[in-house]
Symmetry: C2
Subunit: 423 residues, 2 copies
Amino acid sequence: MLRFLLFLLLLGGPGALPAPRRRRGAASPTAPYRTRYLRQQIDHFGFDENLTFQQRYLVADQHWKKDNGPILFYTGNEGDITWFCNNTGFMWDVAEELNAMLVFAEHRYYGESLPFGNESFSDSKHLNYLTSEQALADFAVLVEYLKMTVAGARYSPVIAIGGSYGGMLAAWFRMKYPHAVVGALAASAPIWQFGDLVPCGTYFSIVTNDFKKSGTGCSESIRNSWNAINHLSSTDAGLQWLSSTFHLCSPLKNLQDAAMLKNWLSETWINLAMVNYPYKADFLQPLPAWPIQACTEMVMPMCTDGVNDMFEPQKWDFDALSEECYKVWGVRPRPSWILSMYGGKNISSHSNIVFSNGGLDPWSAGGVTQNITDSLVAIVIPDGAHHLDLRSRNPLDPKSVQQARALEICYMKQWIEKARHSH
Amino acid sequence: MLRFLLFLLLLGGPGALPAPRRRRGAASPTAPYRTRYLRQQIDHFGFDENLTFQQRYLVADQHWKKDNGPILFYTGNEGDITWFCNNTGFMWDVAEELNAMLVFAEHRYYGESLPFGNESFSDSKHLNYLTSEQALADFAVLVEYLKMTVAGARYSPVIAIGGSYGGMLAAWFRMKYPHAVVGALAASAPIWQFGDLVPCGTYFSIVTNDFKKSGTGCSESIRNSWNAINHLSSTDAGLQWLSSTFHLCSPLKNLQDAAMLKNWLSETWINLAMVNYPYKADFLQPLPAWPIQACTEMVMPMCTDGVNDMFEPQKWDFDALSEECYKVWGVRPRPSWILSMYGGKNISSHSNIVFSNGGLDPWSAGGVTQNITDSLVAIVIPDGAHHLDLRSRNPLDPKSVQQARALEICYMKQWIEKARHSH
């Protein structure tokens, strides 16, 4: 059961959060931006097929100081870049203070940045260029292009900012292309949710803790619900009762249907934990999932034991994932590649990265929550859910997120100042 | 004329030096080594085709301290790895002092490490995976594999060492995979011979200076030779005279033939400058050239003016190179990619790289010859030719190369010591 959920989760990845859509009725937090496109190589790492595509990016320079003022560069993750642009209010909030240009770069294979148009998702051949390495190369080429072509930006210090998978990209962008960005803010970025870097069960125990805090008996009720559903599913009357209680459009007919109900419930509990914000956020539109990445390099081990968490016990089963990936996409995951590529826990030689984490966010399980060096800094926001710090300022923000943002701004100013002195 | 030579040169690249073959009659500088193979992905950056090949590497651990003693890791360049193993005597000379294991990793597409066997060079499709990025990924996976599988190597500090293009790889390896190697010795590595990072003519003016130093009127004679050859080539008698004077196997028949003679002469002058060693080195077997890399990412602008150098004037002509590449391989070079990928001159955030340069070596034109930071250090060996420091100790070594090696060893010890303290 849960294996299927995990698979979905993994396909959804850290960004499979309900989409950060503009709050209904609320004023747009964003000022106007311009939409631009840059012709990118589909394959940065091979030269045989010289195919290109148009990468979309958004630019807002109302507050930019044209004499090499800084650029805040959002490293787009799995979704339409306008969603992230409209829901990363933090960047809009600080643009004036930092005299910064804002750039939101769309991740290839999402939004309008489709390497092969409608064919992009048709098979593993067309999906072959959907990797973090290619996405980072897009970003590096785009940053270089901006510096070369935008008047007054030649020596602009660029700071990468991203949340969730986009936060991983922001951190990795600084690690792999430190000449392109002077620093990175990686919000709720589970860069260690790979291999055996962190226990596979922590993610679900954080979800469980959120429910423990939310009311007496809450997590216990959920833990008990699975057996109750299993029991009810064993009879037609029970299935009927479940169907009517949950107001299902089509009634449950068998154990498979009941398993899907359990998956749906599990996913709901997880999503609620991730978007446990201090104010109403109309977060209902699911982002498109990673269509193939969890089957290639983004292999994030997950497990439950039903003791430290409120879910049905399920061991991490790489072989099952691999079989499923092969069946669906014809590809096999390479779980150790991401460790060889990005260094696992051995990243202390890098610099100028702030990793922020929400204490309520299950993805903090795979995040960097302790300082590694003076310039690889962890921020923990005890009351924060999934990259709350990247959202617009809000009167209901807890003090902890206000402080986190202040600290993030402080680090960004330091990076900018240092870059200025080096020219 | 020279354009064709430049093209050849570029195809040959910085490693198109006459091959470092073992000196005839001299004792082998190398102790025994074991030959090993590791199965590598042909495409590290894509997951559609899951093809693999066997990468060869050589191991010598006679002097290795098995309790996490250091590993000196030669980042193989364009050639059979046994050549480099037998001609990088420096590593063999210091192994005992550093208690180090020696590993020589073969570059994909060379020696026995052929991704598609005999088909590897058949066309641009098969050559598609011959890039520096794929080669570095091979190295990263191999280092990880060694640490995981060799008993006592789990926390061994690894130092990358390479010369010429291999030196570029050593530097880039440290830049891109600092978790894999604690430092790098990049000998005669022209990492700045790209874009407009250095003047395109310096390379040939260094060749010229070598000849100026070697005798009065020497470079002038060579400079005058081109017009003399041109003049002689305009008559049958002149062509005949040239053919007999140079003892040519087949006589020159026309201007094209004479142009080939001039190319051959130019190449000879360049090679003599590169291997201007203080002792007899039997360096006659040419390395296989980069079969396609100069047509993809390794675009090194070169030019001559006949004033600051002794060659016929020839501007750098990218368009001509591009046309030639398209005609020969069906690919177009991307001259700016290497700058986006490896940062050009903006590399100060990296650490622990020693760049050594020979003052006699034309490739020092594109090398790092000034310290960038305390841990990005340049060493210049005024009397040194192309990576003389990587060769075995020799009684005829000038003091400058002895000191350079001593300094290199000093830095390596510091990196090793620091790594030890971090565990």
